[in-house]
């Protein structure tokens, strides 16, 4: 049995009686047992997964209706709630938090008979791009365990890349799906803002973040997006996609399409030569496929990282204010404390990056400083939206490297906050403007992956997946050996 198969191949494998759900799930659990001590993709394993598998097998045997996922093991980033189980956000502050509700995305997958195999590691509250800020220790890149897997959905990326599960759900606030997808050589899709419900996702920067699929193939992302997308009465910001099928015409190709190569994303300081070469190669590939590529400038891009950190810190400062350890949290005796000193003491359990974001989030929107920071950041965001609107009048897609660099070593970037932030340069634009973006594995150089990012206009996931699939078909990448 090959644990490295795609979701679609898994489904046909079950349908053709090549293996049972129970067999696949127990093999996957064995695999996790074997490799995860080292990789640390998971924070928690679903201890009723085998039981779930047996139930689905029984349904299959007795010819009952079975959901589209046929018991495939899917991992879930640990900032997405599943009722009755822990959701820690990789924070000590939520060490014992048990969610009373299930996120819409997990409900939808469960009702299609997917099995949530476990909860995956992340940077604390999704603030980071390497999992080095997880309170429970980092995840490791299966291509080279001395390197970071990317983040913040690093555990999700690792779990898929290392064949611990078929697919994963991540969340993407500024690249948190695409960055680890690129670093782990898998596919990661950040959908249009509002296409996928955020109900049950623990908010970090709620105006720009989305849940999305992280998969082995582009088709798998389309398959999962079919299930998790659409309007949700539990999320006022969701959009109606009229039950679009993202899989049916995915092999449409890119012939005649116009692709803009974003100048500001292909020449930033710190762009690695290998990444640049891979990108130029991808551009040539697209042209061979009949697309028309030309450079295009988005003048706001150089300001987007600052705008992104300003906006996300402001929203995080507000979203994380509720962690005062009064209604939920960890044990800490309150006797002798006054309210303010108690919660200040309790909140010192936040990790260093969260603490810094809290301080930034208190500073940049404050009455005396909002004009210099927060308002300007919002205006950069607005102007970027205008630029993007104009660009998509002319182009069908935009492309860039997903990340300007390849996976870096643990500890290599963490001490320089500014160069750390710059790693987000190419991914934050899609979040600030709400457009969909996907990272497609394109190359392995020096034993480490490089991903290509494709962006499309609002709600153009259909054509975006077509372009991604066209590119994916041209590459033949090695399997990770672990």
């Amino acid at each position: 049995m090959d644990l490295g198969i795609s979701a679609l191949n898994y489904v046909s494998g079950i349908k053709n009686n090549e293996f049972t759900v129970e067999e696949f799930i127990s093999k996957s659990l064995e695999r996790i047992n074997e490799v995860d001590k080292n990789l640390h993709a998971f924070l928690q394993i679903n201890d009723v997964a085998i039981k779930n598998a047996k139930e689905i097998d029984a349904k299959i045997k007795s010819n009952q209706d079975v959901g589209k996922c046929y018991g495939m093991p899917i991992s879930v980033k640990d900032n997405i709630c599943i009722s009755g189980s822990k959701t820690t956000c990789a924070s000590k502050v939520l060490e014992n938090f048990i969610a009373p509700h299930t996120s819409t995305v997990v409900s939808k997958l469960s009702s299609e008979d997917a099995i949530m195999i476990g909860k995956t590691n992340l940077d604390e509250f999704a603030m980071g791009l390497s999992t080095e800020f997880s309170a429970y220790g980092p995840s490791k890149n299966p291509w080279n365990t001395d390197c970071v897997p990317g983040g913040s959905s690093g555990g999700s990326g690792v779990s898929v890349a290392a064949n611990e599960c078929i697919a994963s759900l991540g969340s993407d606030t500024g690249g948190s799906i695409r960055n680890p997808a690129s670093f782990c050589s898998i596919v990661g899709l950040k959908p249009t803002y509002g296409l996928v419900s955020r109900y049950g996702l623990v908010s970090y920067a709620n105006s720009i973040e989305q849940i999305g699929p992280m998969t082995k193939t582009v088709k798998d992302s389309a398959f999962l997006l079919n299930i998790i997308s659409g309007i949700d009465p539990n999320d006022n910001t969701t959009l109606d996609n009229k039950d679009q099928d993202y899989l049916s015409n995915i092999d449409e190709g890119v012939s005649g399409k116009k692709i803009g190569v974003v100048t500001e994303m292909t020449n930033p300081d710190g762009l690695s030569t290998d990444v640049l070469n891979a990108t130029n190669d991808a551009i040539k590939t697209f042209e061979k496929l009949g697309a028309n590529c030309e450079h295009v400038s988005l003048q706001m891009v150089p300001y987007t990282v600052a705008a992104y950190y300003t906006i996300t810190s402001t929203e995080a400062g507000s979203n994380l204010a509720r962690y005062d350890n009064v209604r939920y949290g960890y044990e800490m005796d309150s006797s002798g404390f006054e309210f303010n000193s108690y919660i200040s003491q309790a909140r010192s359990k936040f990790g260093p990056e969260v603490i810094r974001r809290m301080i930034l989030g208190g500073f940049v929107p404050s009455a005396g400083h909002a004009g210099k920071y927060f308002l300007k950041a919002l205006k950069v965001k607005s102007k970027l939206i205008t630029e993007i609107k104009h660009v998509f009048e002319k182009f069908d897609f935009l492309i860039s490297p997903t990340v300007p660099i390849q996976p870096f070593k643990f500890g290599e970037k963490i001490n320089d906050p500014v160069s750390f932030m710059m790693v987000d340069m190419n991914t934050v634009t899609a979040n600030l403007t709400g457009i969909p973006a996907i990272s497609v594995p394109y190359k392995i150089t020096n034993g480490l992956p490089i991903g290509i990012q494709i962006m499309a206009n609002h709600l153009e996931e259909n054509s975006l997946l077509q372009a991604a699939y066209a590119l994916e078909k041209t590459v033949d990448l090695p399997e990770v050996s672990i």
Binding site: C81, S203, I343
Partner: protein
């Protein structure tokens, strides 16, 4: 000149559910912390779901107060840490990027004065802190979150009041208006709260918070003016500050926490998109807006010939004006109005009595009809009212069971009169000299028949017996 401004908080108690979740808007009958859910408790992963009717009802208030209303409304987060605030921010409104609050720049007449409304906004109520013991110096705070998320409309006035009396008048008018709009029940405990700001000539503005009831608001304002005036007399500077109303001692005290330190970090609430309110919607709301109290009053006077005084009393009370509207017809309106204001209002003078009353408009019109057709007397009608309020049975049934029907049988009445004439021999003598005494004898007959005797027939028969007239 003394300047007083108000910030009124009014719960939309006529809504079924809270502002952002499906918990009950009226939390009053729940055990502590049983009217809560992940949304109003700010459990991680929950999202606010805006209540459509809350937007509509709040917009009605804005329209009734002559405000401008926006084409889009937006919500903001007001960030501060407090135990009664589950998310440690309050979802509220702010006119930061254009006018996006429910309403702005309205006005309302209070006597001869025009009070300008600065802004109206829709927001969530926090939970309630229930201290353990009586003092604040206890070791812990106990919180009941049942109220958290209750829809609240904040009405901010310009500092246009000149004295506490105007404040009281305004509050009465506003309460009646909100009740008439069927958005709130101002009589419910905690449904209407207010903060005030007060300044006298040459002094700084002082905010008074924590005022529990409208009754105390007038007192607090009065106290504060007196306090400031006495400071001014002694040439002591009036500092800009926030003071709390001490309910026990009925005074204002300086707030220990410095409010100027507050840094609310307002920013847009992205979980709720901006809500478009198009002209169609506004027109619909306008069309279905309950008739204003003043136009009701005018109509009662001009159409039904009711006295302005009675019309004023009737129109300003939603419960009784509804009863009136449903009971009145082309011919009985004046009588219905009079019976409500002279008899029924006295019988139903508390919320509890109204709630348990079984009286409906049919009863009332039947009652008027019966009096008019001399089926029962006004005195009997009062007895019947008592009974209807208690058990709600049809009027005829009550007339029968209490035997309230008119005695218009000549034979029966003659028997009673003969008896009275015997008992009141002196009066009978006097009546021959002074015809006015006849009325006294009519009264006696009424007494004997428990008010059931047909007054006209009684008079005729008496005169006949006395051979006068």
């Amino acid at each position: 000149m003394t300047k007083i401004g108000l910030e009124i908080h009014c719960q939309l108690t006529k809504l079924e559910s809270k502002l952002f979740c499906s918990c009950r808007a009226d939390y009053r009958e729940f055990q502590p912390n049983t009217n809560i859910c992940p949304v109003c408790m700010g459990i991680p992963g929950s999202l606010p779901l805006l209540n459509k009717s809350a937007v509509e009802k709040a917009t009605l208030i804005a329209m009734a107060l002559d405000c401008n209303t926006p084409s889009k409304i937006a919500f903001f987060r007001k960030n501060y840490f407090y135990p009664d605030l589950p998310k440690n921010f309050q979802i509220t409104q702010l006119n930061a990027y254009g006018n996006t609050s429910i309403g702005w720049e309205g006005k309302i007449s209070v006597g001869d004065a025009k009070i300008r409304i600065r802004r109206i906004q829709l927001e969530e109520d926090p939970g309630r802190i229930i201290y353990e013991g009586a003092t604040e110096k206890t070791k812990l705070t106990l919180v009941d979150y049942n109220r958290a998320g209750t829809p609240l409309v904040e009405i901010v006035t310009e500092p246009d009041f000149e004295n506490p009396h105007q404040v009281r008048e305004f509050l009465i008018i506003l309460s009646d208006l909100l009740e008439n709009l069927n958005v709130s029940d101002p009589g419910l405990e905690g449904a209407m709260r207010a903060d005030a700001n007060v300044s006298i000539e040459g002094g700084s503005k002082v905010e008074i918070k924590n005022i529990g009831s409208f009754h105390d608001l007038e007192k607090a304002v009065h106290f504060e003016i007196t306090r400031q005036e006495s400071l001014a007399e002694r040439e002591i500077e009036i500092v800009q500050e926030t003071r709390h109303w001490d309910d026990g001692r009925k005074i204002t005290v300086s707030a220990r926490t410095k409010e100027e330190e507050a840094e609310y970090r307002y920013h847009l609430e992205a979980d709720i998109p901006w809500i478009r309110i198009n002209d169609d919607t506004k027109n619909q709301l306008q069309v279905h807006m309950p008739e204003s109290i003043s136009s009701k009053k005018e109509r009662y006077v001009s159409k039904y010939g009711i006295t302005p005084q009675v019309a004023g009393i009737l129109s300003s009370d939603r419960y009784f004006s509804e009863l009136f509207e449903n009971a009145k017809n082309e011919t009985n309106a004046k009588d219905v109005a009079n019976m409500i204001t002279t008899d029924i209002m006295g019988l139903l003078d508390t919320r509890e009595k109204r709630d348990s009353s079984k009286l409906n408009a049919e009863h009332l019109s039947a009652l008027i009809e019966s009096i008019k057709s001399s089926k029962i007397t006004r005195t009997s009608a009062k007895l019947a009212l008592d009974e209807i309020i208690k058990n709600g049975k049809p009027l005829q049934q009550i007339i029968d069971s209490l035997d309230l029907g008119h005695v218009s049988d000549e034979g029966e009445l003659t028997n009673v009169i003969t008896q009275i004439l015997k008992e009141e021999a002196k009066a009978v003598e006097d009546a021959k000299q002074n015809p006015e005494i006849v009325n006294f004898l009519v009264g006696k007959v009424m007494q004997k028949t428990q008010g059931k005797a047909d007054p006209e027939l009684t008079l005729t028969l008496l005169k006949k017996s006395l051979a006068i007239g």
